[in-house]
Symmetry: C2
Subunit: 385 residues, 2 copies
């Protein structure tokens, strides 16, 4: 039935010579950044060639860094722990602009039109919004404490929570004036939040009490809904080595996959009823739980002392289907946008490991100095990052 054909055997009209060799292309859809957390540097990588194109230095304290991309995938905005906001030109492979916008920042977001960059700050608390082109300040929104869980919403809007006051807020920059709205009480000491990929559910995690709080951002007046009343830190449990990242929550098959705090478990929550439907026992305390695109699987990494491993869990059966040992201190994972590969940073082995998600075998390794976060340019086109 199948005929393998070695050479072009049909009517062909070749209009030009061969395409440019890999690596010389200036297309930006296959690029990414790897954070080198100890040295304040980033690697520009070609995820298709499994290659490093450049190292860019001078980004300050990257011990807790995140990245957003401009809609054309040309510029990366790197948010550093020290309040540095750095705009990297992915084509020129150098820093384009850099400002120290605050004293202690913990993350950022980019508006849906790409025009505005928002940064969440601890010291002083609040959200600052910048022109994405010039990095000039556009709006400065103070808060009654540390701001956490900053996300972008459609329509030039942003939402966040405030650790000290236990509130969630939203800013709307679609009109001539910035309109700031209090969404309501989250519960005590929100420490992080996440937005679902459809822009609907803004979910806030709490450190000061048990439970989670959800806002339906499709509502005209989003209101807090508490759920999972027993979710959270429990003194009788294992010590909490690291609070799990809420950005890592998988939204799959009508479920939230929540990392249990301090326990070796995933909690599966039905997205409609907000009730727990299953638990999965794991190798360690989960940090990130990420959906493999185009599949039923989530991939999980762990807090110390179990952070040399990854596990793969089927969201249908809730069973662990694979345990991998990439190396010491696995800090982050990033999937290719259509899911055929996952890149994994092994900080203490000073390398990034590329796995084929189908075979779960290693395809490539890339040298990096204490790598942590990995961010591909395809993020430019996604909601909820």
């Amino acid at each position: 039935m199948i005929r393998h054909i070695a050479a072009l055997a049909i009517s062909a009209l070749l209009l030009t010579g061969p395409a440019q060799a890999a690596g010389t292309s200036l297309a930006t859809g296959g690029l990414g950044l790897v954070i080198e957390r100890a040295s304040g540097s980033v690697l520009v990588v070609d995820r298709l060639a499994h290659d490093t194109l450049a190292r860019i230095e001078g980004l300050g304290d990257l011990s807790h860094a995140s990245v957003n991309y401009s809609p054309d995938e040309r510029f990366a905005y790197v948010f550093g722990r020290d309040g540095g906001l750095t705009r990297i030109d992915m084509l020129a492979r150098r820093i384009d602009r850099r400002v120290i916008q605050g004293g202690n920042s913990i993350g950022g977001a980019i508006s849906d039109d790409g025009a505005l960059i928002a940064v969440s700050n601890y010291e002083p608390g609040g959200v600052r919004i910048f022109d994405a082109e010039t990095l000039a300040l556009v709006a400065d929104i103070p808060a009654d404490g540390k701001t956490v869980g900053l996300v972008e919403l459609p329509g030039r809007r942003f939402a966040w929570a405030v650790w000290d006051s236990g509130e969630a807020w939203m800013a709307d920059l679609s009109g001539p004036q910035t309109v700031v709205t209090r969404l309501g009480e989250t519960g005590a000491n929100p420490y992080d939040a996440v937005l679902s990929g459809d822009g609907r559910h803004f979910v806030v995690g709490l450190f000061g009490e048990k439970g989670l709080t959800l806002f339906d951002m499709w509502d005209d007046a989003p209101a807090p809904v508490r759920f999972m009343a027993d979710y959270g830190k429990d003194d009788e449990d294992l010590p909490v080595y690291k609070m799990p990242h809420l950005q890592g929550w998988a939204f799959t098959e009508g479920q939230f996959a929540l990392p249990a705090v301090g326990r070796h478990e995933i909690l599966w929550v039905d997205r409609t009823s907000l009730a727990e439907v299953a638990r999965t026992s794991l190798h360690g305390q989960p940090i990130f739980i990420l959906s493999q695109p185009g599949s039923p699987f989530v991939w999980v990494n762990f807090a110390t002392p179990h952070n040399d491993a990854l596990q793969v869990v089927d969201s249908r059966s809730h069973e662990v289907v694979a345990t991998l040992r990439p190396g010491p201190a696995v800090l982050h994972m990033e999937f290719s946008p259509r899911g055929h590969e996952v890149w994994v940073s092994s900080r203490d082995d000073n390398k990034v490991i590329v796995f084929d998600t189908r075979t779960r075998a290693v395809k490539a390794e890339i040298a990096a100095q204490s790598p942590s976060g990995i961010f591909f340019t395809a993020r430019a086109h996604r909601i909820g990052l």
Copy 2:
């Protein structure tokens, strides 16, 4: 509470001069193609600048054309009605390679790793698979008739249906040999198919009998499941001016939004139970029903004689919330990847109209000769297109 600040008033370290002017950038994340169906040409557009960068001619019969992009967003693969497969260099803005691969083709797909291009053919029937770089033939898979509904699946796989034999098939090119599997019977005369964005549900529409057929592609052995037994063409209904595109089915809020065949309705089907849960009365016979990213809304265009309008429907209430009149012969819509804009082709007004999805007001217009399909490079990163 808010301080608007006109100028950069905080610690700033500007390391370089201003960024390059718009239009000279070689980043590819904000580009797209507009099919000019009557003239065999395409426009290369900058969706961020609302501008046309180039017209490329010589693509043959584009009366039913579709486009896929390479993972780095550099190359567009244009599938023409006349069997032409054209590789466009989005940076050089010219045809890179072109082959006439069959006599009458109706669509294509690109493997998840970007290495393989598949084309679905009517005359002769079958699927041909090409090297994405050279356009050399890799595999030629005959069929017992016209192949329709070709989609890419994760793991270098493709699936399609065969009009004449009423079967669905899958090809797996992940190993050294191409493995072709018969998935099962679809029902009489499948005319199109669609894959959900999570790669799970391959849904086949039928012309020869009523009902739809679904395959769960996450199963190790996907089997046909019939549903919506009354769905389809009905002689007692209105005349069918055009069979709706299944690529246009929205998957939103746990529902499929199906265009009723020959009737002025959307049928809402629960994705878990596969039962109809609601209907929406429309202005005309729906062709495309597309989800606005980050929102509860779907946008609908219509068959002649009602094809001057668009309607917006809320997937929660199933009610029409807006009716727009962009102009004569609205053939296609394309959303910006995060949903802040939608581009609409008005064939008989020779223009593309850009709407702000929040205000639903016109933001820009772009001249084009008989425009039909609009395809942004962000598609490179999505499953189910």
